[in-house]
Symmetry: C2
Subunit: 495 residues, 2 copies
Amino acid sequence: MTATPATEALEARFRRISALSGIASVLIWDQSVLMPSGGCEARAEQLANLSVLRHELLTAPDVAEQLATAEEEMLEGWRAANLLEMRRLYFHEIALSSKLVDALSRASLRCEILWREARAEANFSIVLKALAELIALIQEEATAKAEIMKISPYEALLRRYEPACSINSIEKLFGELEDQLPSLLNSVLEYQATRSDPVQPQGPFPIAIQRALSRMVMQAIGFNFNYGRLDEALHPFCGGVPDDVRITTRYEDSSFISAIMGIIHETGHALYERGLPLAWRTQPVGSARGMIMHESQSLLMEMQACRSEAFLDLLSDWACSAFSISLEPKNLFRICTKVKRGCIRVEADEITYPLHVIVRTRLERAMLSGDLQVAYLPSTWNAEMNELIGVTPPNDAMGCLQDIHWYDGAFGYFPMYTLGAITAAQIFQAAVRDERCIPEAIGRGDFKPLVEWLARNIHDLASFKSTEEIINMATGANLSTVPFLSHIKNRYLDE
Amino acid sequence: MTATPATEALEARFRRISALSGIASVLIWDQSVLMPSGGCEARAEQLANLSVLRHELLTAPDVAEQLATAEEEMLEGWRAANLLEMRRLYFHEIALSSKLVDALSRASLRCEILWREARAEANFSIVLKALAELIALIQEEATAKAEIMKISPYEALLRRYEPACSINSIEKLFGELEDQLPSLLNSVLEYQATRSDPVQPQGPFPIAIQRALSRMVMQAIGFNFNYGRLDEALHPFCGGVPDDVRITTRYEDSSFISAIMGIIHETGHALYERGLPLAWRTQPVGSARGMIMHESQSLLMEMQACRSEAFLDLLSDWACSAFSISLEPKNLFRICTKVKRGCIRVEADEITYPLHVIVRTRLERAMLSGDLQVAYLPSTWNAEMNELIGVTPPNDAMGCLQDIHWYDGAFGYFPMYTLGAITAAQIFQAAVRDERCIPEAIGRGDFKPLVEWLARNIHDLASFKSTEEIINMATGANLSTVPFLSHIKNRYLDE
């Protein structure tokens, strides 16, 4: 099928938009990894200009007309799917003025920079005003989008990350977790209390060796360094573009475990990006489906595949030979599956992690609705943590300042982690059902059967189908908490 | 004076163009320093899109009208100077179609990538076709601009780098050098032949120590690492933006001299960028004047200030203590002022360097006019080198493949180096005349008097005046080869 003039014009436009998004991703990577501090203001100017240019490209007067024309053309196949995505992106952008886009870009960068200082000094007041200003802009965005999309403002924010995300489905799934996890947590804690604590391997673990081991693990999983890099930054992330994926991590010489597990997580993201179908890379239909699917790919790799006893036994061997240490058999597995009520989300185990997300989801909804004044965030945070997880952060750096997300404007993102974890469990279960050799292969460091299954069932579908459809096609069922909860019982209670 | 609507619109537009140029500069740095090879195609797409966006912003239908309106407004001060620059940039861009801009961007990147391979294998045929295609596009650009600007096509290319550059002035200045340098070269060679060769310090010189020494030298000259970085790349350059200057170099552990001298050169570029007046950074009037002035700033630092006996004595002390070696007094100065007929431009001494440039200027003019077919470039290059410098390159990697410029589309750039060298000599002479303490201060590693003089007389003027006016105001005379030639006689013949 050849392109009509309307689709051709739209495809050229979205190809350019894709280039601009790729550029922004490289600039953000650069800023996080190596930009000198003096460059902040110039970078803010660059990123704000990119956002506004992207906005102008998406909302130019002829786009509405071209979309309408194309929609009457009864397109089929990838062009039909692409058009749906174009329309969706258009709705998100047409709701906003370019002034608001510019203000949002600058306010998030300003707030993020103050957050770094606030977190370092564990002093929320440093960032209070900037956060309040940013929230006001986010509210403006949410309200404007809600009106056009006929959904609630918070849903409009969720849909920046996940196309069809609804509050109802989140409340249902999270409700099930909230019902079951606290008692599961108690059972696991009791169960683990019957055993001695696992012995922590003693460092120092030289960072040069950690780097080499990390690269080896990434390559085993399937990362190709001709198409990507591993670097260091304050917070681990996966950026760049599919043919130039930029993963970051942070090392400490006292332990190698959290850096390696973080890298495995980011490698899951990277494989998804790399696996997107080549021919549609520059079009919306060829982009990653959304952040539930993205987080499912990272968590599947980190939690399902690599936190397994089989893989951790292998990693233990690799680490022993890399660092010239010795570890008891099963020791690494026991460390990586140790459950603990803690303050920090990124250090949380699989069972408490969803509770951290539920706290954040409640709080961000309250801040956005105006029910929670930003000034009360620290105290409310602590109260919620105490209620749901049973810990009280000793200071705000370990409390409401620990995560970058809100200070960066990413309201509505936190639920993606837990929706991703649920999805990961369901997808991994289906993969193992289809390819029974997967767990044993992973134990040998052979990720091919798993990655090939993911490529066929997830990566290759990009945005050709909805998240729901992809999950259904890959697993034969709607998204449910059952596989996740049974995975937890299986791994942590030997059920 | 407040902005009128026309100037306000133009200023906003050029502010955005400045952000896009800054972005392109960071992307090019990234590509040269650390991008994985698989990212080439995506990066080409990003850079081509930026070029076309910049082109569209500069040539949008309302720009011509706004420029005409503003020109009738009798602007004064910086706004008047800014308007002249806007008009100049507009002329350069309006001559081209966006199709040509896109094609040029892609063809230069493609040709540059093939050139890397061709140079590595010393095989010109690898890049022949891509170069011929690139030249055809450059000819198209030159012809289109020549028509609008009423100048010759080659001049149109020169003016991409230097606003008012004329073939007449280049022919006059280069003619004087061609008249005098060959006999000067003979005299210097005879003079140096009467002495034994300077002893080369014996390595290895660990690269970590070279890095530390380089940073120390940069800081002494005035580079502030809060606003810039030093990294490694295949070819040394200075990129980034004024508040985030990215310098690169290449180290070899067999010698530290060429890396350090290269870094000093790039630091001269960096100080110029950093010294541009803060309030006008995003406007054309606040940008660097042109590449003659830019190369004058780097060559002034490298050749005039730091290849002096006084500074090299100091550098010798620093190097001895950094590498724990000992060097004879004056040895480093003798190494750095050793004159030799050689094949490689970037390793050339101050006397043969202009001859390398003259060869390239002749050849690029011949290729652009069609007098020289690209297939004959290697043999013609060798013949010219033999005639003018008296050497014949043993292979094309040391011949016509040695420099990136043509393969990157930078026709018309080479003359800037020698015009910059002449300018540097004249400016340095004036600076020392105004501030007699400069040479002695440099010998102590104190660059403040020099850099402050440059800030006042060159950097601060940005593009408020023409190159000619800046040179005149700073030195009291028109640009001439006299200071350069007398500097050569003074340093190399003790005259």
